[in-house]
């Protein structure tokens, strides 16, 4: 833990570097747009300058994010507080879950209850919980045939079955440090604090972290920066949450959701009423006017129950009225038949008109026949019949429920904290396919939240909070800019067409100081961690980011997939063919460029050098993911959790 003065000095150093960087960047872009665009090759110049602009916007957001990072130290623990530990499992092996449950039972806190939340409802898990003495929770009958909402649903189900004031959520593989509650629970002294997130740390990273799973940049400077804007994220595991905040969120969301469905139902029914009016004017008009009343009642904030009654009465009355209309039509027709000489018709008519007072119930119109859409009528009842639980505290709108939940809590005015100390040790995916699937799921989930609840417009968030969420969401559009960047040297070298029209030396004179300072700023931010692998992956995954954008914005919604934590065997070169293709093309382009200058006198040394450097940089960024595709752990390599977490460690110490 650094002292306050050091923290202040570091923050100010960053601010100076960052401001200079942004100034240079802005000047560079002015020069790019105003003085250097190759207007003879706009097909090339425009995508490149757009990608550069995008990168600059990202840098601005990055600087803003890190402007005032927090420096957190564990506050003294609360005097008391009941804690439920939720260990969520679906299909993980018993031995893995055992480590976590055992460690959770050793957490140093009075009044702690450990619950194994088994979404797989496996007998061996029930037996494990029983043998270790932890609670065991599975979904009940009420979930049959209802959407299960994956991990969020699992935790929501357990929330309803427990009552601790605080909840520690752990994935099945996250082995907690016994101090995890003592170190975090003091934050809740602030009555407005909803959750404390701690870092995710992996004990099974092979040497060199081939799959780029380690996230020290995120669980370090980025989260500390977001925390400074009261926008630390909830990341799904290794976090302690306040039950009251979750329940308040659940109720608020229930009301919001119900009101929204209600409004939609009323809109739908107004449409149907117009259709009804074509077959029965009076009934249609009556229904329309009751919906009109409901609409106004909703807007003036009348209780939903009352509005529901108004519409239901309207529907019943419209049904009755249309039956009377039918009766009238029948009577009129019978009258005509009688006039044509049918004596029975005359008598039946008289009978019908007499019976109008006590309308024959049996012939009342079929309630389902007013042409009203059934789902809309259902949405008028307030039971949320489509869900197993009416109150869903953890957000279920996305496959990344954690981010959506944090955003909603922030929008309600709750605070959050990021505690930078590692207090749980878990497993990262051990092969490329699993790692890529996990990234794809996060990307799709985040973009889903952007579509469903745009942080820029969501009521209740502060401007900095909006920008924090937006920064994360925007970063998933990186793929398009990265594609332009990796293809540019290839295009330059093969075609001899350049996106800029000034001499190369002038271009370099503008670009190099900007990039150099950008680099220095980034290295300063990451001076205590190794972020190089993360950087490589964020560029190298460009095909995956692009796929995520297309599949989410135009395709089918993604499904929650449990990421396998144990190595799946296989060779994954097929997964990285775009990266291999770019590397091969770049190498060819470099060879072609060198040959052209040496033997055909094409180009200049400066242009060749720039493009070769640029191409080699791209190759350096892309190579690790290709190596990861054929990665095999060193023989005999077997990851073990830190010894102090394991059963026996405590007793050894005591002994």
């Amino acid at each position: 833990m650094i002292d306050e003065a050091t923290h202040r000095r570091r923050v100010w150093t960053f601010r100076v570097l960052a401001s200079l960087n942004l100034l240079l960047g802005a000047a560079y872009l002015v020069w790019r747009y105003g003085y250097s665009l190759n207007t003879a090759a706009l097909w090339f110049a425009v995508p490149l300058v757009a990608a550069e602009t995008y990168a600059f916007v990202n840098t601005c957001l990055f600087v803003f994010m890190l402007w005032r990072p927090t420096r957190r130290e564990s506050p003294p623990p609360l005097a008391a507080g009941t804690v439920d530990v939720f260990i969520t499992t679906y299909n993980e092996p018993v031995d893995l879950v055992r480590l976590t449950v055992e460690a959770a039972l050793r957490i140093d806190w009075p009044g702690i209850k450990v619950h194994l939340l088994d979404d797989g409802a496996r007998p061996e898990m029930r037996a494990l919980a029983a043998s270790l003495g932890s609670g065991y929770i599975t979904r009940g009958e009420e979930w049959t045939g209802k959407p299960r909402h994956a991990k969020a649903g699992n935790a929501n189900n357990a929330l309803a079955a427990t009552d601790g004031e605080y909840i520690l959520i752990l994935d099945a593989d996250q082995i907690p440090d016994p101090r995890i509650i003592r170190q975090t629970i003091g934050y809740f002294r602030d009555p407005e604090l909803a959750f404390v997130q701690t870092p995710q740390h992996f004990y099974n990273l092979p040497p060199g972290d081939p799959f780029g799973n380690d996230a020290p940049l995120f669980y370090g400077p980025i989260m500390q920066g977001k925390d400074g804007w009261n926008a630390a994220y909830f990341c799904g595991s290794n976090a302690v949450l306040r039950r009251e905040a979750l329940l308040q969120l659940g109720v608020t969301e229930y009301v919001r959701e119900t009101e929204k469905r209600f409004q939609e139902a009323v809109r739908t029914l107004r449409h149907d009423a117009s259709a009804l009016r074509r077959q029965s004017r009076l009934a249609g008009d009556l229904l329309r006017s009751s919906l009109e009343a409901a609409h106004h009642a909703l807007r003036s904030g009348a209780p939903l129950q009352r509005v529901s009654d108004i519409v239901r009465q309207g529907i019943a009355a419209a049904g009755e009225l249309s039956s009377y209309e039918d009766l009238q039509t029948i009577a009129d027709t019978l009258q005509e038949l009688a006039e044509a000489g049918d004596a029975n018709a005359a008598e039946t008519r008289r009978h019908l008109l007499e019976s109008m007072d006590g309308f024959p119930e049996a012939m009342r119109r079929d309630p389902g026949s007013l042409g009203l859409r059934e789902e809309a009528v259902h949405d008028l009842d307030l039971t949320r019949a489509s869900e197993a639980q009416p109150i869903l505290p953890l957000a279920t709108i996305s496959v990344t429920e954690d981010m959506a939940t944090a955003m909603r809590l922030h929008a309600l005015g709750w605070k959050s904290a990021f505690h930078p100390e590692v207090l749980a040790y878990g497993l990262a995916p051990e092969d490329l396919r699993s790692a890529l699937n996990q990234r794809l799921r996060w990307a799709q989930g985040t973009l889903q939240v952007l579509i469903r609840e745009n942080p820029l417009t969501k009521p209740g968030l502060s401007l900095p909070q909006r920008l924090q969420y937006f920064t994360t969401m925007l970063s998933y559009f990186d793929g398009f800019a990265s594609l332009v960047f990796v293809l540019s040297p290839i295009v330059c070298l093969f075609t001899g067409v350049f996106p800029i029209r000034t001499p190369w030396m002038e271009f370099l004179a503008w670009l190099v100081p900007y990039l150099a300072l950008n680099r220095i700023m980034f290295l300063y931010v990451t001076r205590e961690i190794s972020a190089w692998r993360s950087e490589q992956y964020s560029l190298a995954l460009f095909p995956l980011w692009i796929r995520a954008v297309f599949s989410t914005l135009v395709g089918r919604p993604p499904q929650f997939v449990v990421t396998p934590k144990l190595r799946q065997s296989g060779n994954y070169l097929v997964l990285v063919w775009p990266q291999i293709a770019v590397i091969a093309l770049t190498a060819l382009a470099i060879g072609y460029g060198v040959w052209g200058l040496a033997f055909a006198g094409r180009g200049t040394v400066a242009s060749l050098a720039t493009n070769v450097f640029w191409g080699l940089y791209g190759i350096a960024m892309l190579l690790p993911i290709v190596r990861a595709a054929v990665f095999l752990p060193p023989p005999g390599w077997k990851p073990e959790p830190p010894a102090f977490l394991l059963a026996g460690a405590a007793s050894l110490k005591e002994g």
């Binding site: 077959q279 029965s280 249309s322 039956s323 039918d326 009766l327 039509t329 029948i330 027709t333 019978l334 005509e336 038949l337 044509a340 049918d342 029975n344 018709a345 008598e347 039946t348 009978h351 019908l352 019976s355 024959p360 049996a362 012939m363 009342r364 119109r365 079929d366 389902g368 026949s369 007013l370 042409g371």
Partner: protein, 111 residues
């Protein structure tokens, strides 16, 4: 919810409409327009076979009565056949069983 309608042509002037399902405001208009088509084709002797009809409400009755009137105007008839207990009860309740000729089956209606 749908009312299945199946028409059997017996001659240039005669047809049986067999309905299936619920005859209500959603489905009765189809019955009504089918009867009108038959009359336009000159088939004015119509039997409505309700054996497979589970339910008739006021709008269903209205469709049948207007069909009856239309056939009569052309000198034909509209008979009802095969009404189940619930359906027959409504006809009785409304005394429409005195206006329509009702038969156990379409064969009986045309015998």
């Amino acid at each position: 919810m749908d009312l299945g309608l199946e028409v059997r042509f017996l001659s240039a002037t005669r047809a049986v409409i067999a309905a299936r399902g619920r005859m209500n405001a959603m489905t009765a208009p189809a019955m009504k327009s089918r009867i009108k088509e038959l009359i336009d084709e000159g088939r004015t002797e119509i039997v409505c076979d309700l054996r497979e009809v589970s339910f008739v409400d006021s709008s269903g009755l209205s469709a049948l009565v207007s069909g009856l009137k239309a056939t009569r105007e052309q000198g034909g008839f509209l008979k009802v056949a095969g009404a189940n207990e619930q359906v027959a009860r409504i006809f009785k309740l409304t005394m429409l069983d005195r206006v329509f000729e009702m038969y156990a089956s379409s064969d009986a209606a045309l015998a």
